[in-house]
């Protein structure tokens, strides 16, 4: 079983990869003819159905890290992998209950539209776009570095070339096909990923006569009962709660996720799309749990950690063991598609913060025509895409795992509190929003630098200054407290008066775009 074609560009992998690239580039060509106005570029002309958007949201959210990474974590550590998946799912109900419909009714293209709805446009857009852009950049760097290493492991391509290919394709999708192409890349990826994982689970279960008890017994016989028990992941309960806050409320503050709600025609479709997305993502995490155990039982820890210490190749190794080279090639191409769909969504969200919020909202004071704005958005896409490639190469070999955690912490502390208070709280003021966003942002960044993950693991100091790995338990609540206190100290009559009118649009959708 030590014979593996992982790490070599096999013919099947190359064929599947080119099929995917050809299909997505054709879609981009098709979408480009339908992408002229701002509503088309940022929001696919609001033509996506709830079901399609549910798939696209799942495609936007399920990263290669959550497929290869979580399957590997389950394979090596067992139950702890499940704890991780649970954290990534529980934010979705929050998105549904508190954010999705109001966001759809009140905004146009970005979540800053909602925060700025009845407050002073320019300072709010600057602050909200800063939060959005930093979240997107951190997430993007982590994805690019992950893409380079994973593709190197899977196909044996040099890291830099992998990053450039990913970057070039992602720029092509977004630049020419806008949200329409991005959406369909995400839908195709979600279908491929869910389909591939389902087949893999089916192949595992055939081996065990569709009996989970047999599967689990094989693993516990080999590696002990600790595989089915929570292990080292939860050492410090406060830290786990802090991470939980970041994951739960961070999901509801991720710009690339929030942006997707503008692609559907109305609030009803927005709400339906969250239901579908939560179902698909939950189903996927249950599949990866089974895949992890299948890999532990059928491939074994020794081979998995020999190929990659972090266990990232557990699922591909299992695919090869059960479905041969052809299935491995298919799954490797799916992993590639997975990366592309996520980075395309991120690039579009980042570009919209630059063009819609900063350029049109702040610099042009809201006065720009359709043509100018689309042009600005395309330039922003290109700049951001090239920047992502350069940063991806610059961070080669660096420990970037903390960046996703930081992105979620900032989304939970800078983006989410301001968004929630602007929707639900009448007395929220411009000053309150600005102070809340910047304090959530600053605290997340400063505390993570002082935390064990950066201060000790990366900067090699002996003792952390801030004891927790995740800053959210401090930064999340601080952002709310600062927002509330400053708002109460700086009353804004105009904003309060507009709140009642906003309610009509927010709750029954009259005047929604």
């Amino acid at each position: 079983m030590l014979e593996t074609t992982i790490g070599q560009p096999t013919l099947t992998a190359i064929i599947f990869f080119f099929l995917f690239v050809a299909a997505t580039l054709y879609i981009t060509y098709w979408a480009a003819k339908r992408t002229r106005t701002t509503a088309e570029f940022y929001a696919a002309g609001r033509s996506i159905t709830g079901f399609q958007n549910g798939l696209a949201l799942a495609g936007d959210y399920m990263s290669a890290a959550s497929f290869l990474g979580i399957a590997g974590l389950v394979a090596l550590k067992g139950y702890d992998g499940l704890i991780y998946s649970v954290g990534f799912l529980v934010g979705w109900p929050i998105v549904m209950f508190l954010i999705a419909e109001q966001l759809r009714n009140l905004g146009k293209y970005t979540f800053a539209d909602v925060v700025a709805y009845r407050l002073k446009q320019r300072p709010i857009r600057t602050a909200a776009a800063t939060g959005a852009l930093i979240t997107v950049l951190l997430y993007l760097i982590a994805q690019m570095v992950g893409a380079g290493s994973l593709i190197k492991l899977l196909f044996g391509l040099p890291y830099e070339i992998a990053v450039v290919i990913v970057g070039a394709l992602m720029i092509a999708y977004v630049l020419f096909g806008g949200m329409l192409a991005t959406t369909w890349v995400q839908i195709i990826k979600a279908v491929l990923l869910l389909g591939g994982a389902t087949i893999l689970v089916f192949l595992i279960l055939i081996k065990f006569g569709f009996n989970y008890v047999d599967l689990f017994s094989t693993v516990t016989d080999k590696y002990g009962e600790k595989m089915l028990q929570p292990g080292g992941l939860v050492k410090n309960p406060i830290d786990t709660i802090s991470l939980g806050i970041a994951l739960m409320f961070g999901t509801a503050g991720l710009p690339h996720i929030l942006m997707r709600f503008y692609t559907v025609p109305d609030a009803k479709e927005a709400r339906k799309s969250v239901f579908y997305a939560t179902g698909f993502i939950g189903y996927f995490y249950i599949l990866t749990f089974t895949i992890g155990f299948g890999a532990a039982a059928l491939v074994g820890h020794e081979i998995i950690s020999k190929i990659d210490k972090g266990g990232n190749m557990a699922a591909p190794l299992l695919a090869e063991a059960l479905g041969g080279e052809i299935f491995l090639g298919f799954l490797a191409a799916v992993a590639f598609a997975t990366i592309l769909a996520v980075v395309a969504g991120l690039t579009l969200a980042g570009a919209s913060a630059v063009s819609h919020d900063i350029y049109v909202g702040v610099i042009r004071r809201g006065k720009a025509d359709e043509k100018q704005e689309v042009r600005a958005a395309k330039i922003a896409t290109l700049v951001l895409g090239v920047l992502a490639i350069l940063l991806g190469i610059a961070f080669k070999g660096q420990n970037v795992a903390f960046m996703v955690g930081l992105a979620f912490a900032i989304a939970a502390s800078a983006n989410f509190p301001a968004l929630l208070m602007s929707i639900f709280w009448k007395k929220f003021t411009t000053q309150g929003a600005i102070c809340s966003i910047y304090s959530g942002l600053a605290l997340s960044v400063i505390l993570i630098i002082l935390s064990p993950t950066v201060w000790v693991d990366i900067l090699k100091n002996p003792q952390p200054i801030f004891p927790l790995k995740s800053p959210a338990i401090v930064s999340f609540f601080a952002a709310f407290i600062v927002g509330i206190v400053v708002s109460l100290l700086t009353r804004e009559k105009e904003a309060e008066e507009k709140f009642e009118a906003e309610k009509i649009r927010s709750y029954i959708g009259i005047g929604a775009e």
Partner: protein
């Protein structure tokens, strides 16, 4: 027009019912998830208990958090598609707002 909508008892009922169900379901979700974390921290004996063959109680509980979260979104959609949308349509029709 706006005044008329805002003052109408139907509109107020819509706002009240939506906020009530949103907050209720959010609190339920928070209880489920942070309850799970507290169980991981302080209830390891319970999670490690074997319930069927090698399967520990932790497995159905962990999977249960995922499934329950999805069911909660289903409850919200069902409620909103039935009662909320109807009431919104009624208010829009009655007040002639489009």
């Amino acid at each position: 027009m706006k005044e008329k909508i805002l003052k109408s008892p139907e509109f107020r009922a819509i706002v009240r019912s939506k906020n009530a169900i949103s907050i209720f379901l959010t609190v339920v979700e928070l209880f489920i998830y942070f309850g799970f974390i507290l169980l991981l921290a302080y209830g390891k004996e319970l999670l490690n208990q074997k319930i069927y063959g090698p399967i520990t109680a932790g497995i159905p509980i962990g999977i249960g958090v995922i499934v329950l979260s999805w069911i909660l979104t289903g409850i919200y959609v069902t409620w909103a598609n039935k009662s909320y949308d109807d009431n919104v349509a009624k208010v829009r029709e009655k007040l002639g707002g489009e």
